[in-house]
Point group: C2
Chain length 208, copies 2
DNA sequence: GGTTAACTGGACACGACGTCCAGTTATTCC
DNA sequence: GGAATAACTGGACGTCGTGTCCAGTTAACC
């Protein structure tokens, strides 16, 4: 069975690396890197939502079973590629300088968070489109992290009673929407941040 | 060619009916209805995003070419089914009673709009998931209509300068998100409306 | 350096896609 | 009312992607 390791949990679903304690074979590591590089190029070159496992395998010069051994679908590969960037923001949220890190007002922190995520969207839109499109978006670890963060900010601002608000405030960061604003409607990242800034400011600074 | 009529514009992409001036043949009308009924049942029964043209044809007892003659994909069928409901809201926005129709404050009208769309999402979630998921969402006529409406409300409230805000305020109504809130997070429609109400109120009533 | 376990690539069957063609049926015109 | 015409229909076809399996190969460990 090609993906027995995946099913048995001997391979990390997120990074595609063997779980801790196991040593990755040299040839396996080499191929993993080839796959990631090839996938990144493909996602950037064409519509990321229509990239297939076949294509990635061909582009990487690797058999299909080799791909399935680590990643169940193209979205998982995009998630692995994105992980590094999102993790960096997560660290700054927890222990970075204000206003992204602790210390600033909830409104300012939300604005800084919006800016940081717009930055990720702007720099890695193909990856986010592939990894966080549709229902997948809500199941990634990153989404859970953002939820917790916003939830904390809302609590600080005295808005903790409204369960849904957290996700409603994350909705404007959907990659699909960002692509539409940038490429269909022709807006600049600055214009998008302007809109988000108003949103954050209005929701978190004045409330009756 | 099976879908020559579709390509030549002799068939309405939205409803699947012949363009005005043409008379629909009796057997064609019968089959169109069979297709719509079968599709609605199918969308409701299983994950609407994975329903295929094959299945719909089988369920309707109709050949595949008959399907492709009118609809290019399952999403188009869902759009046709949704159209009626969305059109009703659109009429009320233009000439219905306040607060949905003209006459109320922008904030109250936005809240009423949110409530109306949550109602559609609640009653026809499978259809909206199929019709308005991913990038398709922004290309439907309905989305354009909602945009225009919100844009008007923002202008009335003196927020017309911020281009992106319109779409940011529509983002929380994405069907994918609604499904997540309802079925993954277990929120009630009332809780979701509560969140939207805060959003609308905060953005549209007080601004510096 | 031999044994063991992991890794790899290609083959396989399946299902969905979108198109095409030939037969059938409704509408139009006289 | 019946023939001519155009529209409609269903099944077949080739293509592509999927996910799995197997047998050969290669690296790690003792």
């Amino acid at each position: 069975m090609a993906s027995a390791d995946l099913r048995d949990g001997r391979i990390d679903l997120l990074t595609g690396q063997p779980v801790s304690g196991r040593v990755e074979r040299a040839d396996a590591a080499r191929n993993r890197r080839k796959v990631l590089m090839a996938a990144q190029a493909l996602f950037a070159r064409r519509d990321p939502r229509s990239v297939t496992m076949d294509e990635i395998a061909r582009e990487a010069g690797v058999g299909r079973a080799t791909l399935y051994r680590r990643y169940p679908d193209p979205a998982a590969i995009a998630t692995a590629l994105l992980d590094e960037h999102e993790r960096r923001v997560q660290e700054q949220l927890l222990s970075g300088d204000p206003p992204l890190g602790p210390g600033a007002s909830p409104a300012d922190r939300l604005i800084a968070f919006y800016e940081a995520l717009v930055d990720i969207l702007e720099q890695h839109l193909p990856l986010t489109l592939s990894a966080e499109t549709g229902p997948r978006r809500f199941q990634t670890g990153a989404y859970g992290f953002w939820r917790t963060h916003i939830s904390t900010l809302l609590a600080e601002a005295g808005l903790s009673a409204t369960e849904a608000l957290v996700d409603l405030l994350l909705a404007p960061l959907a990659p699909d929407l960002y692509e539409h604003l940038r490429h269909q409607r022709g807006l600049t990242p600055e214009q998008i941040v302007d809109g988000l800034r108003i949103l954050a400011h209005q929701v978190l600074t004045t409330h009756p």
